[in-house]
Symmetry: C2
Subunit: 292 residues, 2 copies
Protein backbone atom coordinates (compact mmCIF):
# COMPACT_ATOMS: atom_id res chain seq x y z
CA UNK A 1 0.00 0.00 0.00
CA UNK A 2 1.13 3.55 -0.71
CA UNK A 3 1.15 6.28 1.90
CA UNK A 4 1.32 9.95 0.92
CA UNK A 5 3.38 12.31 3.03
CA UNK A 6 3.05 16.08 2.78
CA UNK A 7 6.27 17.77 3.86
CA UNK A 8 5.45 20.79 6.01
CA UNK A 9 8.97 21.64 7.18
CA UNK A 10 9.31 24.73 4.96
CA UNK A 11 6.12 26.14 6.53
CA UNK A 12 5.31 24.65 9.93
CA UNK A 13 8.97 23.87 10.55
CA UNK A 14 10.37 27.25 9.61
CA UNK A 15 7.59 29.61 10.69
CA UNK A 16 8.64 30.30 14.26
CA UNK A 17 12.39 29.93 13.87
CA UNK A 18 13.93 33.13 15.21
CA UNK A 19 16.84 33.07 12.76
CA UNK A 20 15.69 34.40 9.40
CA UNK A 21 16.22 31.85 6.63
CA UNK A 22 17.17 33.44 3.30
CA UNK A 23 14.73 32.81 0.46
CA UNK A 24 17.52 31.22 -1.56
CA UNK A 25 18.17 28.65 1.18
CA UNK A 26 14.45 27.89 1.49
CA UNK A 27 14.36 27.22 -2.24
CA UNK A 28 17.34 24.89 -2.00
CA UNK A 29 15.59 22.99 0.81
CA UNK A 30 12.40 22.72 -1.23
CA UNK A 31 14.34 21.48 -4.25
CA UNK A 32 16.10 18.86 -2.12
CA UNK A 33 12.82 17.69 -0.61
CA UNK A 34 11.23 17.33 -4.03
CA UNK A 35 14.31 15.48 -5.25
CA UNK A 36 13.98 13.20 -2.20
CA UNK A 37 10.57 12.14 -3.47
CA UNK A 38 8.17 14.14 -1.31
CA UNK A 39 4.97 14.21 -3.39
CA UNK A 40 3.56 17.29 -1.63
CA UNK A 41 5.39 20.19 -0.01
CA UNK A 42 3.78 22.99 1.96
CA UNK A 43 6.14 25.79 1.05
CA UNK A 44 4.71 28.90 2.72
CA UNK A 45 1.96 30.40 4.77
CA UNK A 46 0.12 33.54 3.73
CA UNK A 47 -0.19 35.25 7.06
CA UNK A 48 0.68 38.81 7.97
CA UNK A 49 4.48 39.22 8.20
CA UNK A 50 3.96 41.19 11.39
CA UNK A 51 2.88 37.93 13.08
CA UNK A 52 5.19 35.54 11.25
CA UNK A 53 8.22 37.41 9.87
CA UNK A 54 9.77 34.16 8.64
CA UNK A 55 6.96 33.85 6.06
CA UNK A 56 7.30 37.40 4.68
CA UNK A 57 8.87 36.00 1.51
CA UNK A 58 5.96 33.62 0.75
CA UNK A 59 5.42 35.07 -2.74
CA UNK A 60 9.12 34.93 -3.56
CA UNK A 61 9.29 31.30 -2.40
CA UNK A 62 6.31 30.38 -4.59
CA UNK A 63 7.83 32.20 -7.57
CA UNK A 64 11.17 30.49 -7.13
CA UNK A 65 10.06 26.97 -6.26
CA UNK A 66 11.37 24.54 -8.87
CA UNK A 67 8.88 23.05 -11.28
CA UNK A 68 8.61 19.36 -10.84
CA UNK A 69 6.47 16.45 -9.92
CA UNK A 70 5.59 17.67 -6.40
CA UNK A 71 2.37 19.45 -5.53
CA UNK A 72 3.06 22.71 -3.73
CA UNK A 73 0.66 23.99 -1.14
CA UNK A 74 0.46 27.04 1.09
CA UNK A 75 -1.41 27.73 4.29
CA UNK A 76 -4.15 30.36 4.38
CA UNK A 77 -6.13 31.34 7.46
CA UNK A 78 -8.38 33.99 5.87
CA UNK A 79 -9.62 35.24 2.48
CA UNK A 80 -6.66 37.59 2.10
CA UNK A 81 -4.38 34.57 2.48
CA UNK A 82 -6.28 32.65 -0.21
CA UNK A 83 -6.00 35.64 -2.57
CA UNK A 84 -2.26 35.82 -1.97
CA UNK A 85 -1.86 32.06 -2.54
CA UNK A 86 -3.83 32.32 -5.79
CA UNK A 87 -1.87 35.35 -6.98
CA UNK A 88 1.37 33.58 -6.09
CA UNK A 89 0.41 30.87 -8.56
CA UNK A 90 -0.40 27.99 -6.21
CA UNK A 91 -2.98 25.45 -7.33
CA UNK A 92 -3.58 23.91 -3.92
CA UNK A 93 -4.25 25.72 -0.64
CA UNK A 94 -4.43 24.41 2.90
CA UNK A 95 -7.12 26.16 4.93
CA UNK A 96 -7.33 25.84 8.67
CA UNK A 97 -9.55 26.80 11.59
CA UNK A 98 -9.67 25.72 15.20
CA UNK A 99 -12.18 23.41 16.85
CA UNK A 100 -11.52 24.76 20.34
CA UNK A 101 -13.23 28.01 21.35
CA UNK A 102 -10.40 29.15 23.63
CA UNK A 103 -7.73 28.38 21.04
CA UNK A 104 -9.79 30.03 18.30
CA UNK A 105 -10.08 33.17 20.42
CA UNK A 106 -6.41 33.14 21.51
CA UNK A 107 -5.02 32.37 18.09
CA UNK A 108 -7.47 33.86 15.59
CA UNK A 109 -9.72 36.12 17.66
CA UNK A 110 -12.82 34.33 16.37
CA UNK A 111 -15.69 32.34 17.82
CA UNK A 112 -16.10 28.86 16.37
CA UNK A 113 -19.15 30.02 14.41
CA UNK A 114 -17.08 32.81 12.94
CA UNK A 115 -14.34 30.31 12.15
CA UNK A 116 -16.75 28.05 10.26
CA UNK A 117 -18.08 31.07 8.33
CA UNK A 118 -14.49 32.02 7.54
CA UNK A 119 -13.82 28.50 6.26
CA UNK A 120 -16.95 28.64 4.04
CA UNK A 121 -15.79 31.94 2.54
CA UNK A 122 -12.26 30.64 1.95
CA UNK A 123 -13.44 27.44 0.27
CA UNK A 124 -15.82 29.41 -1.95
CA UNK A 125 -12.99 31.71 -3.01
CA UNK A 126 -10.82 28.66 -3.75
CA UNK A 127 -13.55 27.20 -5.94
CA UNK A 128 -14.04 30.51 -7.78
CA UNK A 129 -10.28 30.75 -8.28
CA UNK A 130 -9.80 27.18 -9.50
CA UNK A 131 -7.76 26.21 -6.44
CA UNK A 132 -7.95 22.85 -4.73
CA UNK A 133 -8.85 23.36 -1.07
CA UNK A 134 -7.72 21.15 1.77
CA UNK A 135 -9.77 22.17 4.80
CA UNK A 136 -8.20 21.64 8.17
CA UNK A 137 -9.34 21.52 11.78
CA UNK A 138 -6.88 22.41 14.57
CA UNK A 139 -6.68 21.10 18.13
CA UNK A 140 -8.85 18.09 17.33
CA UNK A 141 -7.35 16.10 20.23
CA UNK A 142 -7.16 18.98 22.68
CA UNK A 143 -5.79 22.43 23.37
CA UNK A 144 -5.21 23.00 27.08
CA UNK A 145 -6.07 19.43 28.00
CA UNK A 146 -6.61 16.20 26.06
CA UNK A 147 -10.11 16.04 24.62
CA UNK A 148 -11.16 19.52 25.70
CA UNK A 149 -13.22 19.92 22.54
CA UNK A 150 -16.23 17.60 22.66
CA UNK A 151 -16.31 15.02 19.87
CA UNK A 152 -19.79 16.23 18.89
CA UNK A 153 -18.32 19.61 17.99
CA UNK A 154 -15.53 17.98 15.95
CA UNK A 155 -18.11 15.91 14.07
CA UNK A 156 -20.39 18.90 13.54
CA UNK A 157 -17.56 20.99 12.12
CA UNK A 158 -16.31 18.07 10.00
CA UNK A 159 -19.80 17.65 8.57
CA UNK A 160 -20.06 21.33 7.66
CA UNK A 161 -16.66 21.25 5.98
CA UNK A 162 -17.30 18.08 4.01
CA UNK A 163 -20.49 19.63 2.63
CA UNK A 164 -18.34 22.39 1.10
CA UNK A 165 -16.90 19.78 -1.28
CA UNK A 166 -13.23 20.08 -0.39
CA UNK A 167 -10.33 18.07 -1.77
CA UNK A 168 -9.62 16.62 1.66
CA UNK A 169 -10.26 17.11 5.36
CA UNK A 170 -7.21 17.55 7.56
CA UNK A 171 -7.28 16.84 11.29
CA UNK A 172 -4.51 18.42 13.33
CA UNK A 173 -3.25 17.33 16.72
CA UNK A 174 -1.78 20.81 17.10
CA UNK A 175 -0.66 20.33 20.68
CA UNK A 176 0.40 16.68 20.50
CA UNK A 177 -2.35 15.55 22.87
CA UNK A 178 -3.57 12.56 20.92
CA UNK A 179 -2.95 9.02 22.05
CA UNK A 180 -3.59 5.78 20.16
CA UNK A 181 -6.96 5.15 21.82
CA UNK A 182 -8.26 8.69 21.27
CA UNK A 183 -6.83 8.66 17.74
CA UNK A 184 -8.86 5.61 16.78
CA UNK A 185 -12.03 6.78 18.51
CA UNK A 186 -12.00 10.20 16.83
CA UNK A 187 -10.94 8.92 13.42
CA UNK A 188 -13.65 6.29 13.27
CA UNK A 189 -16.29 8.86 14.21
CA UNK A 190 -15.03 11.45 11.70
CA UNK A 191 -14.77 8.83 8.94
CA UNK A 192 -18.49 8.19 9.39
CA UNK A 193 -19.32 11.79 8.55
CA UNK A 194 -16.49 12.37 6.04
CA UNK A 195 -17.72 9.72 3.64
CA UNK A 196 -15.62 9.81 0.47
CA UNK A 197 -13.65 12.91 1.47
CA UNK A 198 -10.09 11.75 2.20
CA UNK A 199 -8.64 12.42 5.65
CA UNK A 200 -5.18 13.85 6.23
CA UNK A 201 -3.50 13.77 9.64
CA UNK A 202 -1.25 16.52 10.95
CA UNK A 203 0.49 15.25 14.09
CA UNK A 204 2.95 16.68 16.57
CA UNK A 205 5.25 14.62 18.76
CA UNK A 206 4.97 16.83 21.84
CA UNK A 207 4.35 13.93 24.21
CA UNK A 208 6.33 11.24 22.42
CA UNK A 209 3.32 9.44 20.98
CA UNK A 210 3.69 10.59 17.36
CA UNK A 211 4.70 7.27 15.83
CA UNK A 212 2.27 5.30 18.01
CA UNK A 213 -0.48 7.62 16.77
CA UNK A 214 0.56 7.05 13.15
CA UNK A 215 0.22 3.30 13.69
CA UNK A 216 -3.24 3.79 15.20
CA UNK A 217 -4.28 5.97 12.23
CA UNK A 218 -2.96 3.42 9.74
CA UNK A 219 -5.11 0.80 11.44
CA UNK A 220 -8.08 3.09 10.75
CA UNK A 221 -7.17 3.29 7.07
CA UNK A 222 -5.65 6.79 6.97
CA UNK A 223 -3.09 7.05 4.17
CA UNK A 224 -2.08 10.74 4.19
CA UNK A 225 0.10 12.45 6.80
CA UNK A 226 1.85 15.80 7.25
CA UNK A 227 5.46 15.45 8.39
CA UNK A 228 8.45 17.78 8.75
CA UNK A 229 12.09 16.93 8.04
CA UNK A 230 13.99 16.33 11.26
CA UNK A 231 10.82 16.80 13.31
CA UNK A 232 11.25 20.55 13.01
CA UNK A 233 8.41 22.73 14.21
CA UNK A 234 6.60 23.35 17.41
CA UNK A 235 4.88 26.33 18.82
CA UNK A 236 6.86 28.86 20.85
CA UNK A 237 3.75 29.56 22.91
CA UNK A 238 3.53 25.97 24.18
CA UNK A 239 6.37 25.38 26.67
CA UNK A 240 8.45 22.33 25.85
CA UNK A 241 6.40 21.65 22.75
CA UNK A 242 8.39 19.74 20.22
CA UNK A 243 7.77 19.62 16.55
CA UNK A 244 5.86 17.87 13.87
CA UNK A 245 6.35 14.16 13.48
CA UNK A 246 9.63 13.73 11.63
CA UNK A 247 9.53 12.84 7.95
CA UNK A 248 12.48 10.46 8.32
CA UNK A 249 11.05 8.68 11.38
CA UNK A 250 7.68 8.28 9.66
CA UNK A 251 9.27 6.94 6.47
CA UNK A 252 11.31 4.50 8.56
CA UNK A 253 8.21 3.33 10.44
CA UNK A 254 6.15 2.95 7.27
CA UNK A 255 8.94 1.10 5.50
CA UNK A 256 9.24 -1.30 8.45
CA UNK A 257 5.51 -1.99 8.14
CA UNK A 258 5.85 -2.72 4.41
CA UNK A 259 4.15 0.53 3.37
CA UNK A 260 5.61 2.50 0.50
CA UNK A 261 6.15 6.28 0.39
CA UNK A 262 8.58 6.62 -2.51
CA UNK A 263 10.72 8.86 -0.29
CA UNK A 264 14.50 8.60 0.02
CA UNK A 265 15.08 8.72 3.78
CA UNK A 266 18.78 9.52 3.50
CA UNK A 267 18.14 12.44 1.17
CA UNK A 268 15.65 13.95 3.63
CA UNK A 269 18.10 13.38 6.49
CA UNK A 270 20.74 15.34 4.57
CA UNK A 271 18.32 18.30 4.49
CA UNK A 272 17.76 18.00 8.24
CA UNK A 273 21.46 17.92 9.03
CA UNK A 274 22.11 20.92 6.83
CA UNK A 275 19.32 22.96 8.42
CA UNK A 276 20.25 21.80 11.93
CA UNK A 277 23.70 23.29 11.30
CA UNK A 278 22.18 26.49 9.92
CA UNK A 279 19.65 26.91 12.74
CA UNK A 280 22.22 25.83 15.34
CA UNK A 281 19.92 23.64 17.41
CA UNK A 282 19.26 19.91 17.63
CA UNK A 283 16.05 18.74 16.01
CA UNK A 284 13.68 16.36 17.77
CA UNK A 285 13.61 13.61 15.13
CA UNK A 286 15.68 10.48 15.59
CA UNK A 287 16.46 8.88 12.24
CA UNK A 288 18.13 11.87 10.59
CA UNK A 289 21.10 11.41 12.93
CA UNK A 290 21.53 7.76 12.08
CA UNK A 291 21.53 7.56 8.29
CA UNK A 292 23.72 8.76 5.45
CA UNK B 1 -5.23 -3.85 33.85
CA UNK B 2 -1.97 -3.25 35.71
CA UNK B 3 1.37 -2.79 33.98
CA UNK B 4 4.65 -3.17 35.88
CA UNK B 5 7.52 -0.85 35.05
CA UNK B 6 11.07 -1.53 36.16
CA UNK B 7 13.04 1.71 36.44
CA UNK B 8 16.51 1.20 34.97
CA UNK B 9 17.69 4.82 35.02
CA UNK B 10 20.07 4.35 37.98
CA UNK B 11 21.80 1.57 36.03
CA UNK B 12 21.27 1.75 32.26
CA UNK B 13 20.73 5.49 32.43
CA UNK B 14 23.75 6.33 34.56
CA UNK B 15 26.27 3.73 33.43
CA UNK B 16 27.90 5.59 30.56
CA UNK B 17 27.47 9.15 31.81
CA UNK B 18 30.95 10.70 31.78
CA UNK B 19 30.25 12.90 34.81
CA UNK B 20 30.65 10.83 37.97
CA UNK B 21 27.47 10.84 40.04
CA UNK B 22 28.12 10.80 43.81
CA UNK B 23 26.73 7.79 45.63
CA UNK B 24 24.68 10.10 47.85
CA UNK B 25 22.95 11.61 44.82
CA UNK B 26 22.25 8.17 43.36
CA UNK B 27 20.60 7.20 46.64
CA UNK B 28 18.46 10.33 46.61
CA UNK B 29 17.36 9.50 43.05
CA UNK B 30 16.52 5.91 44.03
CA UNK B 31 14.54 7.14 47.05
CA UNK B 32 12.61 9.59 44.87
CA UNK B 33 11.85 6.90 42.29
CA UNK B 34 10.57 4.53 44.98
CA UNK B 35 8.49 7.35 46.44
CA UNK B 36 7.10 7.99 42.94
CA UNK B 37 5.70 4.46 42.96
CA UNK B 38 8.17 2.53 40.82
CA UNK B 39 7.66 -1.08 41.92
CA UNK B 40 11.08 -2.24 40.69
CA UNK B 41 14.32 -0.30 40.42
CA UNK B 42 17.53 -1.59 38.85
CA UNK B 43 20.01 0.21 41.04
CA UNK B 44 23.43 -0.97 39.91
CA UNK B 45 25.39 -3.25 37.65
CA UNK B 46 28.10 -5.54 38.92
CA UNK B 47 30.63 -5.14 36.18
CA UNK B 48 34.33 -4.36 36.47
CA UNK B 49 34.84 -0.69 37.36
CA UNK B 50 37.58 -0.53 34.75
CA UNK B 51 34.88 -0.88 32.06
CA UNK B 52 32.12 1.08 33.77
CA UNK B 53 33.59 3.48 36.34
CA UNK B 54 30.16 4.95 37.05
CA UNK B 55 29.13 1.62 38.65
CA UNK B 56 32.18 1.30 40.90
CA UNK B 57 30.01 2.13 43.92
CA UNK B 58 27.48 -0.67 43.25
CA UNK B 59 27.95 -2.19 46.72
CA UNK B 60 27.62 1.18 48.43
CA UNK B 61 24.44 1.93 46.49
CA UNK B 62 22.93 -1.41 47.50
CA UNK B 63 23.92 -0.85 51.13
CA UNK B 64 22.40 2.63 51.17
CA UNK B 65 19.22 2.05 49.19
CA UNK B 66 16.21 2.85 51.34
CA UNK B 67 14.11 -0.01 52.55
CA UNK B 68 10.65 0.14 51.13
CA UNK B 69 8.08 -1.45 48.96
CA UNK B 70 10.20 -1.52 45.78
CA UNK B 71 12.09 -4.54 44.56
CA UNK B 72 15.73 -3.69 43.90
CA UNK B 73 17.62 -5.45 41.17
CA UNK B 74 21.14 -5.34 39.81
CA UNK B 75 22.64 -6.40 36.52
CA UNK B 76 25.15 -9.23 36.38
CA UNK B 77 26.91 -10.45 33.26
CA UNK B 78 29.01 -13.22 34.81
CA UNK B 79 29.32 -15.37 37.95
CA UNK B 80 31.49 -12.81 39.68
CA UNK B 81 28.69 -10.27 39.16
CA UNK B 82 26.13 -12.63 40.68
CA UNK B 83 28.38 -13.20 43.69
CA UNK B 84 28.76 -9.46 44.17
CA UNK B 85 25.00 -8.91 43.87
CA UNK B 86 24.37 -11.66 46.42
CA UNK B 87 26.99 -10.30 48.80
CA UNK B 88 25.54 -6.81 48.41
CA UNK B 89 22.25 -8.14 49.75
CA UNK B 90 20.10 -8.07 46.63
CA UNK B 91 17.33 -10.63 46.34
CA UNK B 92 16.74 -10.23 42.62
CA UNK B 93 19.35 -10.20 39.85
CA UNK B 94 19.03 -9.40 36.17
CA UNK B 95 21.24 -11.62 34.04
CA UNK B 96 21.92 -10.85 30.43
CA UNK B 97 23.60 -12.35 27.36
CA UNK B 98 23.51 -11.47 23.69
CA UNK B 99 21.71 -13.28 20.90
CA UNK B 100 23.92 -11.87 18.18
CA UNK B 101 27.32 -13.54 17.61
CA UNK B 102 29.06 -10.33 16.52
CA UNK B 103 27.66 -8.35 19.45
CA UNK B 104 28.50 -11.15 21.87
CA UNK B 105 32.08 -11.16 20.61
CA UNK B 106 32.39 -7.32 20.56
CA UNK B 107 30.76 -6.80 23.91
CA UNK B 108 31.48 -9.92 25.96
CA UNK B 109 34.20 -11.75 24.03
CA UNK B 110 32.10 -14.92 23.97
CA UNK B 111 30.55 -17.16 21.35
CA UNK B 112 26.80 -17.63 21.71
CA UNK B 113 27.35 -21.16 23.01
CA UNK B 114 29.68 -19.77 25.65
CA UNK B 115 27.07 -17.12 26.46
CA UNK B 116 24.37 -19.74 27.02
CA UNK B 117 26.73 -21.74 29.21
CA UNK B 118 27.50 -18.56 31.15
CA UNK B 119 23.77 -17.95 31.62
CA UNK B 120 23.26 -21.51 32.90
CA UNK B 121 26.03 -21.04 35.43
CA UNK B 122 24.69 -17.69 36.59
CA UNK B 123 21.14 -19.00 37.02
CA UNK B 124 22.43 -22.00 38.95
CA UNK B 125 24.39 -19.72 41.27
CA UNK B 126 21.28 -17.56 41.77
CA UNK B 127 19.26 -20.62 42.72
CA UNK B 128 21.96 -21.82 45.12
CA UNK B 129 22.08 -18.35 46.65
CA UNK B 130 18.34 -17.89 46.98
CA UNK B 131 18.24 -15.09 44.43
CA UNK B 132 15.45 -14.56 41.94
CA UNK B 133 16.92 -14.55 38.44
CA UNK B 134 15.55 -12.58 35.53
CA UNK B 135 17.32 -13.88 32.44
CA UNK B 136 17.71 -11.48 29.57
CA UNK B 137 18.56 -11.66 25.89
CA UNK B 138 20.19 -8.69 24.17
CA UNK B 139 19.89 -7.47 20.57
CA UNK B 140 16.76 -9.52 19.98
CA UNK B 141 15.63 -7.17 17.17
CA UNK B 142 19.06 -6.61 15.68
CA UNK B 143 22.59 -5.43 16.28
CA UNK B 144 24.14 -3.96 13.13
CA UNK B 145 20.92 -4.24 11.15
CA UNK B 146 17.29 -5.01 12.00
CA UNK B 147 16.71 -8.72 12.34
CA UNK B 148 20.33 -9.75 11.95
CA UNK B 149 19.85 -12.55 14.46
CA UNK B 150 17.61 -15.25 12.96
CA UNK B 151 14.39 -15.80 14.87
CA UNK B 152 15.22 -19.51 15.17
CA UNK B 153 18.27 -18.61 17.25
CA UNK B 154 16.18 -16.29 19.47
CA UNK B 155 13.67 -19.08 20.01
CA UNK B 156 16.37 -21.65 20.66
CA UNK B 157 18.04 -19.45 23.27
CA UNK B 158 14.67 -18.55 24.83
CA UNK B 159 13.84 -22.24 25.12
CA UNK B 160 17.14 -23.00 26.83
CA UNK B 161 16.67 -20.14 29.29
CA UNK B 162 13.07 -21.01 30.15
CA UNK B 163 14.19 -24.55 30.98
CA UNK B 164 16.44 -23.08 33.66
CA UNK B 165 13.32 -22.09 35.60
CA UNK B 166 13.89 -18.35 35.81
CA UNK B 167 11.61 -15.74 37.36
CA UNK B 168 11.13 -14.06 33.97
CA UNK B 169 12.59 -13.80 30.49
CA UNK B 170 13.64 -10.34 29.38
CA UNK B 171 13.96 -9.43 25.69
CA UNK B 172 16.06 -6.37 24.93
CA UNK B 173 15.92 -4.21 21.83
CA UNK B 174 19.38 -2.99 22.77
CA UNK B 175 19.91 -0.96 19.61
CA UNK B 176 16.35 0.32 19.11
CA UNK B 177 15.87 -1.64 15.90
CA UNK B 178 12.44 -3.08 16.63
CA UNK B 179 9.34 -1.89 14.85
CA UNK B 180 5.71 -2.73 15.63
CA UNK B 181 5.51 -5.50 13.03
CA UNK B 182 8.76 -7.17 14.08
CA UNK B 183 7.80 -6.68 17.73
CA UNK B 184 4.58 -8.64 17.32
CA UNK B 185 6.13 -11.35 15.17
CA UNK B 186 8.97 -12.03 17.60
CA UNK B 187 6.84 -11.76 20.74
CA UNK B 188 4.25 -14.22 19.49
CA UNK B 189 6.93 -16.70 18.57
CA UNK B 190 8.77 -16.33 21.90
CA UNK B 191 5.51 -16.57 23.86
CA UNK B 192 4.97 -20.00 22.29
CA UNK B 193 8.21 -21.30 23.78
CA UNK B 194 8.11 -19.23 27.01
CA UNK B 195 4.90 -20.81 28.24
CA UNK B 196 4.19 -19.60 31.77
CA UNK B 197 7.46 -17.71 32.16
CA UNK B 198 6.58 -13.98 32.13
CA UNK B 199 8.17 -11.79 29.47
CA UNK B 200 9.75 -8.42 30.20
CA UNK B 201 10.61 -5.94 27.44
CA UNK B 202 13.63 -3.67 27.53
CA UNK B 203 13.27 -1.09 24.74
CA UNK B 204 15.33 1.79 23.44
CA UNK B 205 13.96 4.73 21.50
CA UNK B 206 16.91 5.06 19.12
CA UNK B 207 14.73 5.30 16.02
CA UNK B 208 11.69 6.98 17.52
CA UNK B 209 9.54 3.86 17.62
CA UNK B 210 9.69 3.20 21.37
CA UNK B 211 6.10 4.05 22.22
CA UNK B 212 4.75 2.42 19.05
CA UNK B 213 6.62 -0.73 20.06
CA UNK B 214 5.11 -0.60 23.56
CA UNK B 215 1.65 -0.48 22.03
CA UNK B 216 2.48 -3.47 19.82
CA UNK B 217 3.76 -5.39 22.85
CA UNK B 218 0.67 -4.55 24.89
CA UNK B 219 -1.43 -5.97 22.07
CA UNK B 220 0.55 -9.20 22.49
CA UNK B 221 -0.22 -9.26 26.21
CA UNK B 222 3.13 -8.11 27.60
CA UNK B 223 2.67 -6.37 30.95
CA UNK B 224 6.25 -5.69 32.12
CA UNK B 225 8.63 -3.08 30.72
CA UNK B 226 11.97 -1.56 31.60
CA UNK B 227 12.00 2.25 31.40
CA UNK B 228 14.37 5.03 32.47
CA UNK B 229 13.41 8.43 33.87
CA UNK B 230 13.71 11.14 31.21
CA UNK B 231 14.67 8.56 28.59
CA UNK B 232 18.21 8.58 29.94
CA UNK B 233 20.61 6.00 28.63
CA UNK B 234 22.02 4.99 25.32
CA UNK B 235 25.25 3.43 24.30
CA UNK B 236 28.25 5.65 23.57
CA UNK B 237 29.42 3.10 21.01
CA UNK B 238 26.31 3.48 18.86
CA UNK B 239 26.44 6.89 17.14
CA UNK B 240 23.29 8.95 17.65
CA UNK B 241 21.78 6.29 19.86
CA UNK B 242 19.30 7.72 22.28
CA UNK B 243 18.21 6.20 25.50
CA UNK B 244 15.80 3.82 27.04
CA UNK B 245 12.12 4.49 26.59
CA UNK B 246 11.25 7.22 29.08
CA UNK B 247 9.41 6.27 32.24
CA UNK B 248 7.27 9.42 32.07
CA UNK B 249 6.33 8.94 28.40
CA UNK B 250 5.46 5.29 29.01
CA UNK B 251 3.34 6.12 32.06
CA UNK B 252 1.56 8.82 30.04
CA UNK B 253 0.90 6.40 27.17
CA UNK B 254 -0.34 3.64 29.48
CA UNK B 255 -2.55 6.04 31.38
CA UNK B 256 -4.10 7.27 28.12
CA UNK B 257 -4.88 3.66 27.24
CA UNK B 258 -6.56 3.09 30.60
CA UNK B 259 -3.73 0.94 31.96
CA UNK B 260 -2.58 1.45 35.52
CA UNK B 261 1.03 1.64 36.73
CA UNK B 262 0.60 3.24 40.14
CA UNK B 263 3.38 5.67 39.21
CA UNK B 264 3.28 9.43 39.87
CA UNK B 265 4.40 10.90 36.54
CA UNK B 266 5.14 14.34 37.98
CA UNK B 267 7.32 12.91 40.72
CA UNK B 268 9.40 11.00 38.16
CA UNK B 269 9.64 14.13 36.00
CA UNK B 270 11.06 16.02 38.97
CA UNK B 271 13.87 13.44 39.17
CA UNK B 272 14.55 13.87 35.45
CA UNK B 273 14.73 17.64 35.67
CA UNK B 274 17.05 17.47 38.65
CA UNK B 275 19.41 15.01 36.95
CA UNK B 276 19.24 16.89 33.64
CA UNK B 277 20.53 19.92 35.50
CA UNK B 278 23.24 17.86 37.20
CA UNK B 279 24.36 16.09 34.02
CA UNK B 280 24.04 19.31 32.00
CA UNK B 281 22.48 17.80 28.91
CA UNK B 282 18.92 17.52 27.58
CA UNK B 283 17.32 14.11 27.95
CA UNK B 284 15.46 12.47 25.09
CA UNK B 285 12.10 11.96 26.82
CA UNK B 286 9.23 14.33 26.16
CA UNK B 287 6.81 14.36 29.08
CA UNK B 288 9.28 15.31 31.80
CA UNK B 289 9.50 18.80 30.30
CA UNK B 290 5.76 19.30 30.28
CA UNK B 291 4.56 18.38 33.75
CA UNK B 292 4.96 19.65 37.25
Amino acid sequence: MNITLCEVGPRDGFQFEPKLIPTELKLEVIQALVDAGLPEVQIASFVHPKWVPQMADAEAVCAGAPEGRAVYTGLALNQKGVERARDAGLKHVDLSISTNPTHSRDNANMTLDEAVAQMCGMVQLCHESGLEARAGLQCVWGYKAPGDTPIERILDMSRQIVELNVESLSLADSTGMANPAAMKETLRAVQEVAGDTPLVLHLHDTRGLGMANVVAALECGVTRFDTAFGGLGGCPFIPGATGNIATEDTVYLLDSLGLNTGIDLEAVAAVSRRMEAFLEKPFSGKMYRLVG
